[in-house]
């Protein structure tokens, strides 16, 4: 059974269900549970649900210690950029402890953070900084694009025995979609093929998935059938699904809201260039944000981000029906 829920409610539902299922799950962060009847605290109590000071290093560092001591903390960080003030804990503490101890400890924790708030939040709250968490052995990074995936990936993240950065896209917060009721888990490392097509493979994450799908509809009107893949988890990354799609289409356009040299699309491009070069009928094209601090002014903000026209142009270029997009 499923019913419609907004993306953000689907995440809350997963946390709530996991807390009910497993009493070692904690949920805490700034401005959370400041009154006794707040959701979560009324159901799970003040031992497990707490408001914290504005102290990201302490919040995330305590999650590491609590996890090593047998709990499963979920830290509410609100914005991904707030992790930057505690980056040592995220990238050089949480993912190192298991390895450095020779497997004697594990660090099951979830860092829940929104990102990509391209809605007038200007330079410091709009970033897509996913790349800063990639390439860190031991750290998992997930970025759901639908309410159902948001629920299923959060539940999996909480049950996972490793540290997970759970990135939810702010512009998807109120997007509604079918969400399965009850226990629902989406496995890590398994991409979702959102649209099938034989002419070109489009890979997009987060908010860009909907834009890629919109571009695919636009292109369908021109007789071009795009396959749209959402990796869903960036670490681990499901390269086999992407490579088998490229084997079918021979063309790859990567869409990413991050600036060009900090996008996961660069990682995918590198893997396909190395492992799928012979499959390609055209060069790989990346459609990314421009290399700019996201501007406040609305037309400028829109200008630096990929949109469906830019995605469609890139597809036409790899099909040889239009010049390469800038």
């Amino acid at each position: 059974m499923s019913r419609e829920l907004p993306y953000i409610a689907a995440i809350d539902e997963a946390i709530h269900q996991e807390m009910a299922r497993d009493e070692t799950v904690l949920y805490y962060g700034q401005n959370l549970a400041t009154v006794e009847n707040a959701p979560f605290v009324s159901d799970f109590g003040a031992d497990r649900v707490r408001v914290t000071p504005i102290s990201e290093t302490a919040e995330i560092g305590m999650a590491v210690g609590a996890a090593m001591a047998g709990l499963r903390p979920v830290v509410e960080l609100y914005m991904a950029e707030f992790m930057l003030v505690a980056m040592d804990q995220v990238t050089n503490e949480a993912p190192r402890m298991r390895a450095m101890s020779g497997g004697q400890v594990k660090v099951p924790l979830v860092l829940k953070a929104g990102y990509g708030f391209a809605a007038g939040w200007a330079g410091q709250h709009t970033g897509v900084i996913t790349n800063m968490f990639l390439g860190v052995p031991g750290l998992k990074v997930v970025a759901p694009a639908t309410p159902a995936d948001a629920k299923g990936l959060m539940a999996t993240a909480i049950r996972d025995d490793d540290p997970v950065v759970f990135l939810h896209h702010y512009l998807l917060t109120l997007v509604h979609g079918d969400v399965p009721e009850g226990e629902y888990l989406v496995p890590f490392g398994q991409a979702s093929v959102r649209r099938t097509g034989g002419d070109v493979t489009l890979v997009a994450t987060g908010w860009m998935v909907d834009r890629a799908l919109a571009a695919a509809e636009l292109l369908a009107g021109e007789g071009i059938e795009a396959e749209v893949i959402d990796p869903r988890t960036l670490a681990p990354l499901d390269m086999p699904t992407i490579l088998s799609s490229v084997e079918k289409t021979g063309r790859l356009v990567l869409v990413d809201q991050a600036p060009r040299h900090s996008a996961v699309s660069g990682v995918i491009a590198g893997e396909v260039a190395e492992h799928g070069f012979g499959l390609l009928k055209a060069p790989i094209v990346q459609v990314t944000a421009l290399d700019a601090t996201v501007p406040y002014s609305e037309p400028l903000e829109a200008h630096v981000l990929p949109d469906e026209d830019r995605i469609a142009s890139a597809v036409r270029s790899v099909l040889g029906t239009a010049p390469v997009a800038a």
């Binding site: 298991r98 004697q104 052995p137 490793d162």
Partner: protein, 339 residues
Amino acid sequence: MSSKPDLTWMYTQMVRIREFEERVKRTFTDHPGVIRGHTHLADGVEASIVGSVSTLREGDQVLATYRCHGYPLAMGTSADAMMAEIYGKATGLCKGIGGSMHLTDPANGFLGTSGIVGQGIPHAAGAAWAAQIRGNQDVVLSFFGDGASKQGSFHETLNVASLWKLPIVFVMENNGYNVVTQSFQEDANAAAGQDLSIKATGYAMPGVTIDGGDPVAVHEAVGAAVQRARDGEGPTLVESKVYRLSAHGNLIAPPGVPLHYPEHEAIEVFGDTEQYAAALRGDPVPRMRGRVVSEGVLTSDEAERIAQEARDEMQAAVQFGLDSPYPELDEALAYVHAS
């Protein structure tokens, strides 16, 4: 238990730590290349370590820093496994993956370390939150140096630990140096002639400063703080004044240059031979040996026998480490993920 310190146990553990550290240090010259990277010794800090962990009971936990050899030795970890870890061997405590800075032995209550200054402090508070939830009156000891008290992690963690009345004792081992910088050069309280424990007043918790060279004084002060934490009254900051007798760490040099321990910074950097001579006169290990003999706890022969047993044990640990094989290559990927 914290009520009555066992002086024989304390003396034994102090000597074991000293003899272990002496052999780690000696490895750099006796077996060049066997120890890699950067190693930090606890010689001079034995009384503070032993006095602190003497207050613990089953279920309590300890987290520390890269200067981490002393605590697990006193908590029951095998010296063989520790030395093998420092030598990067398969038989090491952490299978050769952590090395000197990251000894971890959760089975004996030693939950781990961070090699980044101050960053293990919130880990300890997280473990203390877990202890608070367990409700068994377990306590966590968080060890760090004076330098760490200039990190944001220290201030953030003391605030939340006090606010939540977490069962934790913050033990600041003040050895007077942040690597080669003396405390008065980098700490506003030290520069103003204040004890560093005054920092506790900013976080509404007790702060005490003690002679970290006296294991009984440490036992009493940390024991009172542990009891306070067990009783649900929250954390305490204990400033334990110590003097590390070796330099911050072994020489930092690119491969090709053999590593060894330089002179202590007091001499090497500041030319203050009197400061170092005074520290040697206050060396807590002979001080404790004198005490147990003069108080009639041990005869001189018994004290020497304990010291000799420690030497034998640690020499055997060196041999065990040398004789052990390196890990299999696939071990490099074995512990990256738990699931």
